[in-house]
Amino acid sequence: MVGWLRRVWETDPRRDPNAVAYIALALGAVAFPVWVTISTSNAGFWIGVAADAGVYMLLALGLNVVVGFAGLLDLGYAAFFAIGAYTYAMLASGHGSATPLGVTIHMPFWIVLFVALFVAASFGVILGAPTLRLRGDYLAIVTLGFGEIVPRVFRNANEWTSGVNGISALDTPELPIWIKGPWSGDPLALVTGFTILDPLAYYVIMAVLLVLCVVLVRNLYNSRLGRAWMAVREDEVAAAAMGVNTVSVKLLAFAIGAAFSGFAGTYYGAKLSLVSPESFGFSVSITVLIMVVLGGMGNIPGVMVGSLLVYYVIFIVLPGLPEFAVAVVNAIGLGQLAERSGDYPGIGEFASRLKFLVFGLILVLTMLLRPQGLLPSRERAQELTKGTHEDTTIEDVNAEVG
């Protein structure tokens, strides 16, 4: 820990914005619950929102492996999210008795997390195996199809998933027995506040999951496999000729990416206590893709920052837009604009209809101003600033020679 801090200290932060981003994210994660508890009346709500944002962050981290590292455009990522969530629903609820199986299964959350990881990863392989011969646009279309098929299967397999109604009353996660221990009971009462119904508990679980996933993804990125992913992204033929088994490397990207959404799905199901096929549509896949691209494809802290910002815009700024518009017109003395008259629905409703226009504008502007993403990886930043950088760097190199 000390060594790591020193390394961060010694590297010029301007040259390594990633270190800064990691520290900011970690401090933010700790400070956020404290801050909302002090400054707002309904801290629980905000902490819950933050935990939900964490779900998207997990998804973005996973999709980043597929799209950012290996360069495979996956438009059906929500399918794996659905598979993770339904895995939890089937394995940890009373729903089992309503299915042809006839018995209920109540597995602990902590175990299902890993079961779902393997289930989702297997589906990643099942999807990947036949489709990885395809490249670029063709792969995107097939994954798009997969993303549409999976929720549809869950909707139509009435007997097993009770269709559109979804599966509800999923088990609430419990602390494993070894944490509960004697100290959680009455005499000591050290952990009593930490029931898993508490939003803060979910927040903590999410934080732990995220830390775990970031460490693992970072390790992968800096490993033999990470290099192989990059090589495949850059030039598949050359990678193969250098001894990289491109098929298995790409399959691994799919499987590992899917594993993350297995995690995310389980957590999502447990927290909401409800899964329904409507929650895993195309818009989820696209939202996660936007988070990855806008944050900085291929760069882990970039993707995390991107997912927070996009989540903030979609789930907080946009829904608040009508209220904001009304407040603005009232403040500048045009209160009559807030009233509806004839075809005009009033500024609030009007703004709410324009929500996605605003979202689109934000996206277009961000991409115009920062095509490489908010916090891009070194490679991506280079790829998108070709001409200019090339000259300067070559000059440097020559200077070194002379």
Partner: protein, 259 residues
Amino acid sequence: MSDATAGPVLRVESVTKRFGGLVAVDEVSFDVQRGEIFALIGPNGAGKTTLFNGITGIFPPTSGRIVFEGRDITGSKPHEVAEIGIARTFQNIRLFEYMDALDNVRLGQHCRMDAKLWDSLFKTPRERREEAATIERAMELLRFVGIERYARSYARNLPYGGQRRLEIARALATGPRLLLLDEPAAGFTPQEKVELMSLVHKIVEQGITVFLIEHDMRVVMGISRRIVVLDHGEKIAEGTPEQVRGDKRVIEAYLGKQN
């Protein structure tokens, strides 16, 4: 193993490659002996690179056999061919442009590494040791081809000659016993060509057989022990540089028929 080391390193047996109606390589056969520098020459479009692609599994031949150290590798996948011990460079440089030179060479060591997914995920001591070793080996190879000062530059930012050398270093990193060089001296100045020839000699000294395609006659005649000449996909001559230089069909192929 004695069988594998005694015979030719590479045996190309009546290899044919058709693209639709076009016969790019037509019933070509030859042997490459261990430890020699063997050259494949011919006018543009003679099928030289097609033959390389056939050997390395990128476009497997339509018919015929490719035997490496007594083992039939016809139809093997490119990564299998690399694992077996054949590495190559490309005519139009195909580096991983946005990886630095060091990582390009480390990638070349991919198929010689043992770290499993588990090791990579949890950075096991074994994995750390292996990664450290690959960095050391990569630096060694960069020094060997003489571009260690570019270790941390993006491959695309290297000067042209440096990129060609980096491709050779990356190929050597796969630990080959046979190295295929596709026009390694293309676009080089005379001085660079001389340096390249000495590099090729250094590679052969390490016990690696070199099989190269080259256009520059001075380079080919200067370093190769034996030469095969292709024209319109057919083998028209094979022999020592002197034999090939005097061959009527070779002169015709290059200069046209004399009426």
